[in-house]
Symmetry: C2
Subunit: 333 residues, 2 copies
């Protein structure tokens, strides 16, 4: 291993100033009482000597690491990056650092990741919970630190979460379509085993029923991808050729719906509307049809989760918020 520069320690400063390490420590940390003059001199000397406190040593004795563990399935998806960015914004301000690990590997890897976090003695964990990670839920709780879930909530992982009301959000999106005069509205649903996805579907159904369109309800399950959207949108058209709008539970499938609608000769948004869900980067960045979509406030979720965690660490009580997911109207509706 390459050697790092030898570092200046508290003791060095103490020796230089003929003081005790304790004095230096409290002088630098604004803890304990000290003659103001002494404190000033300590700080100046520390700066002059290029003193850098050693977090490991401090953590060893204080038993807190100022690390927040972030457990996210995919590091390489901008959806998750934005959550992380929100977390970092708040945590960083308070001197906390993020310990990142993607959780997309096998079960064995998951154990390794959690073990690494325990070894690093994280003060708390922020987690994007998934059912397929239930196998490590017990381990996560066993870490004995606060856990905040983001976007979804499963009691298995703990009691705290920052989520959105997907049911309400889906209804709002539907209202928008109704206002635009649409009645024959199809829905592209995803994974029926997933709570959030079901909430979106439930929002669609509820809205249709409330507008007396219960019998016109039309939805299909698809993979949350452009291909999935293309395929299922065709089925939707075949099932009802008078369709004038598709609401998709994901932006990806919504893009597929756009392509299918165009291939059926529809003009967007004149003849046909498409609304997505998620406000992924790709929604705004469509060259031709920037997508109307339900915005998930990803950064805000991250910020709130970090804030909750920090409050918890300070011994404050917190409540799990449910955020609004506003509709972003662009060119496809």
């Amino acid at each position: 291993m390459i050697k790092k520069d030898s570092k200046v320690t508290l003791k060095d400063i103490a020796r230089e100033l003929h003081l005790s390490p304790k004095a230096i420590s409290s002088g630098l940390n604004h803890t304990g009482r000290l003659a103001p003059e002494t404190r000033r001199k300590i700080q100046e000397t520390a700066r002059r000597m290029g003193y850098v406190p050693n977090a490991a040593a401090r953590s060893l004795v204080t038993h807190n690491s100022r690390f927040i563990g972030v457990l996210i399935p995919y590091l390489d998806k901008s959806f998750f990056c934005k959550i992380i960015a929100g977390i970092e914004e708040i945590a960083g301000r308070q001197g906390f650092m993020l310990l990142l690990d993607s959780f997309d590997k096998g079960d064995e890897q998951k154990h390794a990741v959690i073990s690494a976090m325990m070894q690093r003695d994280v003060d708390g964990v922020i987690l994007y919970p998934r059912e397929e990670d239930f196998c490590v839920a017990e381990e996560i709780r066993a870490m004995g630190v606060p856990v905040i879930q983001v976007m979804e909530y499963f009691p298995e992982f703990g009691e705290y979460a920052v989520t959105m009301d997907n049911f309400i959000a889906a209804q709002h999106a539907m209202e928008h379509l109704f206002e635009r005069g649409h009645r024959q509205i199809g829905f592209i649903a995803h994974n029926p085993e997933n709570y959030v996805q079901n909430e979106r579907l439930r929002g669609y159904r509820e809205a249709m029923i409330r507008h007396g369109l219960g019998s016109q309800m039309l939805f299909r399950y698809a993979k949350a991808s452009m291909e999935g959207g293309i395929e299922v949108a065709s089925e939707l058209f075949q099932a009802n050729e008078k369709l004038t709008a598709i609401f998709s539970a994901s932006d990806q499938a919504a893009l597929g719906a756009i392509r299918t609608a165009l291939s059926f000769g529809k003009r967007i948004p004149e003849d046909f509307a498409v609304v997505g869900f998620g406000d992924m980067e790709l929604a705004a960045n469509q060259a031709v049809y920037p997508l109307t979509t339900v915005a998930q406030p990803k950064e805000e979720v991250g910020r709130l989760a970090a804030g909750m965690l920090l409050s918890l660490l300070n011994g404050e009580a917190v409540q799990s918020p449910t955020l609004d997911a506003p509709l972003v109207v662009r060119r496809t509706s």
Copy 2:
């Protein structure tokens, strides 16, 4: 602060087994010689007692943290996330963790970030270098740990880097357009102060000249955004109405060029081709015109950078590679 569960330590195991902490340590780390039976017993007891080594304590004495500091301007851009994912893949395998910090704040914040990394005693740094961060270059070098730059290279930050040859890549993209029969090709350039951007422009010029089209060269500088692309593409059309293709130094501006081309009544790709640069997520995820673009191997850059860093930490010599940036042909050419 909430109290974590009291942890089992080496000493506890030592006491349990009537051995010295040293024995336990070497038993667990496969270091030093030990009767196989003893070793087995140690490992079994450790597991039974739920022993988790304390990284801070270890790091305090070994002087290496198994942390890699990652300095990236924006945490919330998928471009950077992919690099990070590549780094994490390699580093994680070797038990290294990433310490993340976005570098997009003011100069003061940058100092704080670097200070945090020094306090955490990172073993090495991976950095997306920018000229505006020169002010902390000295500080980064002063950390006394290896630094690997990704995507760009400035000697100010150190000697190691994983980059791509933007000049060659741009020429390849141009060759593709020539093969498709295009001759009147405009170029959207970005920030003339940036080396990489200039290399892309240079690739365009070189290709034009080599094909005897030096006098037809036509390029404008734009912001690397859809708006920038829209605006400048119009200028390009006005300057040369016989234009049949635009090569853009960014995907974002390329999308703007698509929109402009359509508004000028061009059919893509029949009448008009657009090629971008970067292969951002949005390039593949266009509903109507998935973008032909120069792919930057982002994950691979991250993987290589992590690999280099680890080699360096093992005292091995390394070379700075220059990667290929292959063209991904989609529907806009």
